[in-house]
C-alpha cells in the first residue's frame, strides 16, 4: 500500500530512495514523457479553449491521475517509494531541508538561475532539460524571487471552508474551492503562487522539469482529499454533466483514453496520506 508522507518527516534513506528512483526514471527517458505530456496539455488547452489540465474543474482530477502514473513509474524502480508532499504553509523558507543538497538541492545562482547543488544540478550529470519551451538545458530556480512569501495557512483554511467544489463558468476565477486552491481567484495565490515562488522551470508550462513539482502537487492533491473530508455532503466534483467545453464528472480527461473525474474521486485505492 502506497503511503505519501510529509517530506519534512522523511528519513535520509527515504529521501535517497526517492531521489534515486526519480533519477532512474529520468535516465530511462520516461520522466521526459511526463514533462512532454504537461507541456502538450497546456498547449492544446490554450489553443482549443477547453481547459482540461488547468484553469478549470478538472485541474484536480487531471493532476491526481498525472501523479498516480508518475508514482507507478517510480515504483517500477523501487516499490518502497511514494511521492512525498510539501506543505508549503509550514516549510515556507529557502532554508527548508527540502532544498538541501541531499534532497532537491537549493536555489539557483543569480547569473542564470541555474541550480548548482544537489542531485538535480546540471553539473552532477544526471539532469539535463530535454523537453522545454526555452534554451535552458539546466534546471532553473530562484526561490522567493518573484514573490517573497508562500501562501499562508489562513489562505488554505479559507479555501477548505468553501462548501462548493466549483461553479459556473467553471473557468479561471470562478467561485469555489477548486479555483481558490488553484490560485486563479486572486493575484498570484495558492497553487499558482507556489509555482511562481520557486520560479525558473516551475513558472513555465514545463514545470515538471523541477522534481519539486511532484511534491507540490501531492500537497495540492492532499488538500482536495482534506476538503472532501470536511464537506462530506458536498458534490466531490462539479459540473455533473451537460456543460459545453468543460470536463464534466463522467467525461474522459485527455490524454487518457478512459479516465474520468469520477474515477479519481476516491484516491484511497491508489494511496493514502500520512
Amino acid at each position: 500500500m502506497t503511503v505519501r508522507k510529509n517530506q519534512a518527516n522523511l528519513t535520509a534513506p527515504e529521501k535517497k530512495a526517492f531521489v534515486d528512483a526519480v533519477l532512474e526514471v529520468k535516465r530511462l527517458g520516461v520522466y521526459d514523457e511526463f514533462v512532454l505530456a504537461h507541456r502538450t496539455r497546456f498547449s492544446i488547452d490554450m489553443n482549443t479553449g477547453v481547459y482540461v489540465g488547468h484553469f478549470g474543474p478538472s485541474f484536480l482530477p487531471w493532476h491526481r491521475k498525472f501523479l498516480i502514473d508518475f508514482e507507478n513509474e517510480l515504483q517500477k524502480i523501487d516499490a518502497s517509494v511514494s511521492i512525498p508532499y510539501w506543505d508549503w504553509t509550514a516549510d515556507n523558507t529557502v532554508g527548508s531541508s527540502l532544498w538541501a543538497p541531499d534532497f532537491l538541492g537549493g536555489t539557483g545562482r543569480p547569473l542564470d538561475d541555474q541550480v548548482m547543488d544537489g542531485p538535480f544540478a546540471h553539473s552532477a550529470g544526471k539532469w539535463t532539460i530535454n523537453v522545454s519551451v526555452d534554451s535552458r538545458a539546466f534546471l532553473a530556480r530562484q526561490l522567493a524571487y518573484r514573490v517573497p512569501s508562500l501562501p499562508p495557512r489562513s489562505d488554505v483554511d479559507a479555501a477548505l471552508a468553501m462548501p462548493t467544489y466549483d461553479s459556473p463558468p467553471f473557468r479561471d476565477g470562478s467561485a469555489g474551492f477548486r479555483s481558490a486552491l488553484e490560485g486563479s481567484a486572486g493575484y498570484m495565490s495558492m497553487h499558482n503562487r507556489v509555482h511562481t515562488w520557486v520560479w525558473g522551470h516551475m513558472e513555465t508550462s514545463v514545470s515538471p522539469n523541477d522534481p519539486v513539482f511532484w511534491l507540490h502537487h501531492a500537497f495540492v492533491d492532499k488538500l482536495w482529499a482534506d476538503w472532501h473530508a470536511l464537506h462530506p455532503t458536498s458534490a466531490e466534483y462539479l459540473p455533473a454533466g451537460g456543460t459545453t467545453d468543460v470536463i464534466d464528472l463522467n467525461d474522459t480527461m485527455p490524454p487518457w483514453p478512459n479516465t474520468t473525474p469520477q474515477d479519481m474521486l476516491d484516491h484511497t485505492p491508489f494511496y493514502t496520506y500520512a
Binding site: 497546456f42 492544446i44 489553443n47 479553449g49 542564470d112 526555452d134 473557468r171 511562481t196 513558472e203 490524454p255
Partner: protein, 140 residues
C-alpha cells in the same frame, strides 16, 4: 503517459498554422521601432483589446501583434483561451494565452496573470536571463 488523440490535437495544429506567417517578421531590424499603440500595449478606446507593440526591453526585441481573424473551422465562439495574439522575443514566438477577464499568461510565466501581452513579454525577458524561447510542436 498516453499521447493526445488526433482530434484533441487538431485545434492546436490550426493554431500553429495561423501563427506561422508572423515568425519571420522580426529579423529585419534590431533597433527600437515606435509602437503602433501606446506603450501600455492596450489599444486606445478603452475596449481592453491589446494593440501592437515593438520595443527593445533589457536588450531583447519584443513584438506583439493581434493575429489575423481565424478561419471558421477554428472559430469556437466564446473561448477566451485563444484570443489570437502573437508575441515574439528576438523573432521567436512566445506563446501567450488570455484567461477571460483575469488576464494573460505565457509558456514562460504560466502561473501568473498579466494585464497585457506586453507585460507578459517583458516578464518573459526578465525570466529568461538571456536564454531564448524555443519553438515546439504543441501536439507532440
Amino acid at each position: 503517459m498516453p499521447r493526445p488523440t488526433r482530434r484533441q490535437a487538431l485545434g492546436a495544429v490550426i493554431g500553429v498554422a495561423a501563427s506561422g506567417a508572423l515568425v519571420g517578421m522580426a529579423a529585419a531590424s534590431t533597433e527600437t521601432v515606435a509602437a503602433e499603440a501606446d506603450s501600455s500595449g492596450i489599444a486606445p478606446g478603452g475596449t481592453g483589446a491589446p494593440g501592437s507593440f515593438d520595443e527593445v526591453f533589457e536588450g531583447r526585441r519584443i513584438q506583439g501583434t493581434p493575429a489575423a481573424a481565424r478561419t471558421d473551422a477554428h472559430a469556437h465562439a466564446g473561448h477566451a483561451g485563444h484570443a489570437g495574439y502573437r508575441v515574439l522575443i528576438d523573432g521567436r514566438e512566445l506563446p501567450v494565452m488570455q484567461h477571460g477577464k483575469s488576464g494573460w499568461s505565457s509558456t514562460i510565466n504560466h502561473y501568473e496573470r498579466f494585464a497585457t501581452p506586453l507585460e507578459a513579454a517583458r516578464t518573459a525577458v526578465i525570466s529568461l536571463k538571456g536564454a531564448v524561447v524555443v519553438p515546439f510542436d504543441p501536439t507532440a
